[in-house]
């Protein structure tokens, strides 16, 4: 599992070895990239429609033709995102039936304990941050928040897109509800991404592992202690790591 990478340095003397650990597969990196582009486009084309009365929106939507183009882009991007969601769910389903789903992302009781200990650490009751595995509770919150958020946006979005068809099956009252949910959930999601996600991947540390696919040893030790210990000590299976106490 472990890889060694020689740092590209011209200096001949100390050959520095940087140990990297694979974190995301090529498929996962592409999924994230497509998701990022989709959400960005959906927000850029959706927010001017929500805030149609504001000046900045009127600068973007200057003519009815532009509004049509913006709606078209929004719809096409929504279809791409729908495709991505089905790919993601399909892959998960495939992994489940092949008994290959790692399950690292599933929420556990340990996450609640970790969150509580993290809070105690942040208010100076505990001296040490809790040690995390492959995905810490913050990353799980990010994943599951966006999972459900995209679910709500998709369902409400399709209700708004095909209201006449949808009311053949379900009560008409869902349409104004979908309009409100779509519009409000978008804002909640934007707040979440900008405050929560951007803090964790840009401010706390610059974490580009979702683009590169790997994480260096230092970050592994510091932020994914449990996973690091597990990976490094794996060959010596008979030895008790004692990590479980952390």
């Amino acid at each position: 599992m472990n890889q060694s990478k020689q740092s590209p340095t011209s200096s001949p003397n100390p050959v520095k070895l940087v140990r990297t650990f694979p974190r995301f597969s090529v498929s996962q990196r592409w999924e994230h990239a497509v998701l990022l582009v989709c959400i960005a486009i959906l927000l850029l084309t959706g927010l001017p429609q929500k805030y149609a009365a504001s000046t900045w929106s009127q600068a973007i939507i200057s003519t009815p033709e532009r509004l049509e183009v913006i709606q078209l882009i929004h719809h096409i991007t929504a279809l791409v995102l729908t495709g991505l969601v089905f790919y993601h769910l399909g892959k998960t389903f495939y992994l489940i039936i092949r008994r290959k789903l790692p399950g690292d992302m599933l929420p556990t009781i340990q996450d609640i304990k970790d969150a509580w200990n993290m809070l105690l650490y942040l208010i100076y009751i505990k001296k040490q941050k809790p040690a995390f595995g492959k995905y810490n509770f913050e990353q799980k919150v990010t994943y599951w928040f966006l999972f459900f958020s995209i679910g709500i946006m998709m369902i409400s979005g399709y209700v708004m897109w095909f209201p006449e068809t949808i009311t053949r099956v379900i009560p008409g009252g869902v349409i104004p509800a979908a309009i409100m949910a779509h519009s409000t959930e978008a804002i909640a999601t934007t707040i979440f991404i900008v405050i929560w996600h951007f803090y964790h991947v840009h401010l706390e540390r610059l974490n580009l592992s979702i683009f590169s696919g790997w994480l260096n040893e230092e970050d592994m030790k510091k932020y994914h202690t449990l996973e690091y210990n597990q990976l490094v000590r794996k060959p010596r299976k008979n030895q008790d790591s004692g990590d479980n106490n952390l």
């Binding site: 942040l122 208010i123 009311t167 053949r168 009560p171 009252g173 509800a177 707040i191 401010l203």
Partner: protein, 369 residues
């Protein structure tokens, strides 16, 4: 010495004499004019009070030249001293100059320009109206001042108020009969209601515009709102004054307000008040014939949304505030987000703020150590 004094006092004398002359005109002119007017009227009526007085125009039409003295005295002009000659400027004495109008309409269309002398504002407004456009396009029957106000027997046009729709109804008979059976027209005619709109309330008075334009369409909700958003007036009839505000928040209303504010002349079909409620035929929604009666609502929706099923009407929140009874889905979604969105904002904000504080403090400690 005396000569010298007279010369010295001359300007003063002029002033005094001038003042006396000027003030005397102020004192005497109106009475004089009034008397003159009465005299002109009496003079003209000495012939024109004969009911059999008439002439034949080149078109073969008979033009009655009879003026009823009683009705003339009852009009707004005669008691105020506005005499025959004020309008019939070309007739100063008898025998009259020769009339060279081909027909009665030509005579009317020529004489009504006399109204401009005293009523220039309203006259100019009519030049801007739909009626003037129709006349320009060649329809000589398009109304002029005298068609609505009368020529010799002019009365206040809105006394009683029912006079307004019946005046318009002289030509627009179909609209008038529809209006009479509407909730507005019915209240006007049956109860002499002072609040209901008459033709001119919505269409304007002298500068009546084409109501079929896109501009009129997108501004139409504001027109209805001028009464229906009036809390005081609506409470008199037990009606909600929030209908306009709630409409403005709806899918149709948002759409229309964007077009109204930015592209008022571009064709757009999002529903305005009249698309659902009707125009001249507006009825109480409880009336089984009303287009917005729950019984007829689906058919009304299908005018724009062809082929929608019976569930469709449930999508319309019906000018009501969000409530558990009427709009349960909307109620729960609204309730959820009223908690969820601020919660996300606060949790993310506080958590990240604590992280940043912890980070800064530990960094400061490390460097101070």
């Amino acid at each position: 010495m005396s000569k010298h004094n007279v010369v010295k006092k001359l300007p003063g004398v002029f002033l005094v004499v001038g003042f006396l002359i000027l003030s005397s005109t102020l004192l005497f002119t109106p009475t004089q004019a009034k008397e003159l007017a009465q005299e002109t009227e009496t003079y003209c009526l000495s012939c024109h009070s004969d009911p059999n007085l008439k002439t034949t125009l080149p078109s073969g039409e008979t033009l009655s030249l009879y003026i009823s003295p009683e009705q003339l005295k009852d009009s707004v002009h005669s008691p105020n001293g506005i005499e025959c000659e004020a309008c019939h400027t070309n007739i100063t004495t008898y025998p009259h100059p020769k009339i060279d109008y081909q027909n009665v309409r030509e005579l009317s269309r020529s004489y009504y320009s006399a109204c401009q002398k005293c009523h220039p504002d309203n006259y100019t407004k009519t030049m801007d109206s739909m009626h003037a456009q129709a006349a320009e396009a060649g329809n000589l029957d398009a109304p002029i001042c005298t068609d609505c106000h009368g020529s010799h027997y002019v009365h206040p046009p809105d006394q009683p108020r029912t006079l307004i729709p019946s005046t318009c109804g002289n030509c627009h008979s179909e609209e008038y009969s529809i209006y009479q059976s509407s909730i507005h027209g019915n209240a006007l005619i049956q109860e002499s209601n002072p609040d209901v709109p008459v033709c001119t309330t919505c269409h304007g008075v002298h500068n009546i515009q084409d109501p079929r334009t896109q501009q009129f369409r997108v501004e139409e909700p504001d027109l209805c709102a001028s009464c229906h958003a009036n809390q005081e007036m609506m409470s008199k009839y037990g009606l909600s004054a929030d209908v306009y505000d709630l409409y403005s928040l709806s899918w149709h209303g948002v759409d229309v307000s964007v077009y109204d504010a930015r592209w008022p002349t571009i064709q757009h079909n999002s529903a305005v008040c009249t698309d659902c409620h009707g125009i001249h035929d507006i009825l109480n929604p409880d009336d089984p014939n009303s287009s917005v009666n729950p019984k007829n609502l689906l058919v009304t929706c299908q005018k724009c949304h062809p082929g929608v099923g019976p569930n469709w009407t449930g999508a319309w929140t019906g000018h009501y505030e969000i409530s558990l009874e009427r709009t349960p889905f909307l109620y729960y979604v609204d309730w959820f987000y009223s908690i969820f969105t601020p919660m996300i904002l606060w949790i993310c904000g506080i958590y990240v703020a604590l992280q940043i504080i912890r980070l800064i403090v530990s960094r400061a400690r490390r460097s101070l150590r």
